[in-house]
Symmetry: C2
Subunit: 391 residues, 2 copies
């Protein structure tokens, strides 16, 4: 395989630090009690729409906490596209219960909400003020322990959180070193029951995280190698998890790939990625309440086509690494679309029942949120062409 | 590229946690003071044979500490193959100075000694008792901050330490979660003055760490991909650092590769590696006072040849990843020997002036130390054939 030739002069300065402890594998949630007790004796247990009640996971969490004398208080109902109002309500519940920690049991939306609540616990304003930059950075946050049930966002081992204000059409990301979960429990068996579609969206999400880092042009050869390794393995195991939902090996691989895609492994020697596609996608999620991964499957192919010339060298490198020597960037984009389609994800707005009548609304939201990227700068003149490629 | 087919059933359970904060790049040592002050106001500064006095690094460290009101106490003279007696002496100096932390300024030998001293500070026995398992695991350790001057061992971001008892011919590794450095400062410019030979040994060391992890047969596809990426990039940048010692980019890449080779990135989904070659090499270092990397360049090719049949599938995968599709395991071994030779490392005992008259001594040391591996179990019946391949 040829090595990629970078244009930039040298490796940049960077910090590399991730304090989260990951406990990975079968039945690891039985270690929750002994880890949680290090952080106090009252916990807010945060869950989503209730699937963890049905499959017994919440009972296990409860038993673990009670066995160590930890008093749990439940807050349920976090939505798949989490809203700040739920987080503000949960802060009040946490304050009333005088909790020492948050136990987040769910996917990225529950974990991201836990991070918002952890910050909100110590301030007298809405958690949304952090995201809109109205409030100063948090000085402290409650400790978070996470029990993951969906392989997708990487929130289990990173300091990021994305929350939305549905009424005002804003979906905003936020990060603080205070927000790394203290401990995350990753048992792949809890992802067996995730539907094929949601599973596919998770795979799309993890691939997108690699692409956002990869297309930042700052030279970091090992990062680029690992990013393309993760994508190649996500193609391989992604096919399997969609067709064989109870294949432990495939579920485990996808779960670990999703964590590694956004836990800092790819950010060494980088300024932090481009994230232009995420900015574009957030508008789709907030406007049409579609899953983040569903939106990414539509936006990324369009973004790649739009930057095909500018990013041709990196696209060719990506193609060679993922598809094999001799493949071109154009073939990579085709393969990505074919893979997403095979997994059951839509790759065009039209397929997702978002018709041309909605285009002005999308453009308006992009304009309002100044959807762009760190390196491939997007602005209003780019929006119509991008939308055309997504239609 | 073909995917490797694993024989084992599924991904094992594992923990993944590395609390060390790495600050990487040009002039990062100017951040030492503000990081150190978090840990107290008296520091033992540990150095090796004095090169950091000549190049101004020790003065910078001193100024950084004093600028924050931290009282430094110097302990110098740690040997390239560090001995426990020096560590015990340093513990006494640290106790007299009543220090709060250790600042290790040097390569792996200084960092590994700092870890020994950090444990020894809180007990009433020789640090050597930890390594020989005579003493129980440490309950506490002084915080360590590291300023790295050599890219090789990865000690800057791991919990391991290797120390020797020269008189009794024992070189033993030890690990404890208490021994992760709190902060490590990695400025590649401080490696410019490392001699070509020592530089080459560092590259051999980091490649060997990848091989030890890679040849553990437990299936962890991403780990195997990253290990082979690191080796491929080490071939590329290793050539450069030896011929262009002041090439910042190449020095930076090698420094980062060495850290990533042994900071846990490869241990996810693994039981921890084979480490048989390291066990064999430790005898060479302790008997003939040769650099660890020098010994590894001799032992690894022999070990690979000896296990060529048993490990043929992994060897072929390694060859395809490092050399390109279609290359065989045999070609990888040849390429490794050619690469080490090109960098100026010896690949046979004879070249290193260790003649056949020394063979009985080596066999005796292997026998005494029960040199083996976690997966490719070696025992006395294997030693003569391995030695023959190294001769």
């Amino acid at each position: 395989m040829k090595n990629f030739v970078y244009l930039c002069a040298y490796m940049i300065n960077f910090n590399y630090h991730n304090p989260t402890k990951v406990i990975f594998g079968k039945a690891v949630v039985t270690q929750l009690g002994r880890e949680a007790v290090k952080y106090g004796n009252r916990a807010l247990v945060l869950i989503g729409q209730g699937s963890v009640k049905k499959n017994g996971l919440l009972d296990l969490v409860w038993a673990q906490l009670e066995s160590m004398g930890i008093l749990p208080t439940l807050f349920e109902g976090i939505r798949p596209n989490p809203v700040y109002q739920d987080c503000d309500k949960a802060v009040q519940v946490a304050l009333e219960a005088n909790v020492d920690m948050i136990i987040a049991v769910g996917g990225g939306s529950v974990l991201d909400s836990a991070k918002a609540i952890a910050m909100g616990y110590h301030v007298n304003h809405s958690i949304w003020d952090f995201y809109t930059q109205k409030a100063p950075k948090p000085a402290s946050a409650l400790p978070i322990l996470a029990v993951l049930t969906l392989a997708a966002t990487g929130s289990e081992m990173n300091p990021y959180t994305v929350i939305q204000d549905t009424e005002n059409g804003l979906k905003i990301g936020y990060g603080s070193p205070l927000l790394y979960p203290k401990v995350s429990f990753l048992d792949p068996t809890y992802t067996f029951s995730v539907s094929p579609t949601q599973t596919a969206y998770g795979v799309v999400d993890l691939i997108s995280h690699c692409l956002e880092e990869f297309f930042e042009p700052t030279p970091s050869p090992l990062s680029d190698c690992i990013a393309t390794d993760i994508i190649r393995l996500a193609f391989q195991y992604g096919r399997q998890v969609v067709t064989e939902p109870e294949n432990y090996e495939a579920r485990a691989q996808v779960m670990w790939l999703a964590t590694m895609a956004l836990n800092g492994s790819l950010s060494a020697g980088k300024y932090g990625g481009d994230w232009g596609v995420h900015a574009l996608e957030h508008s789709l999620s907030v406007l049409f309440d579609i899953a983040h991964g569903a939106g990414l499957a539509i936006v990324y192919p369009a973004w790649l086509k739009y930057h095909q010339t500018q990013a041709s060298a990196k696209l060719d490198f990506l193609a060679a690494r993922v598809l094999g020597d001799g493949h071109t960037g154009v073939e990579f984009i085709e393969a990505l679309e074919a893979f997403y389609t095979e997994m059951g994800a839509h790759i065009r707005l039209g397929q997702a029942s978002i018709g041309a009548d909605k285009h002005p609304q999308i453009i308006e939201n992009w304009t309002k949120s100044k959807a762009s990227g760190g390196f491939f700068k997007l602005a209003s003149q780019d929006y119509p062409a991008l939308l055309e490629l997504m239609a």
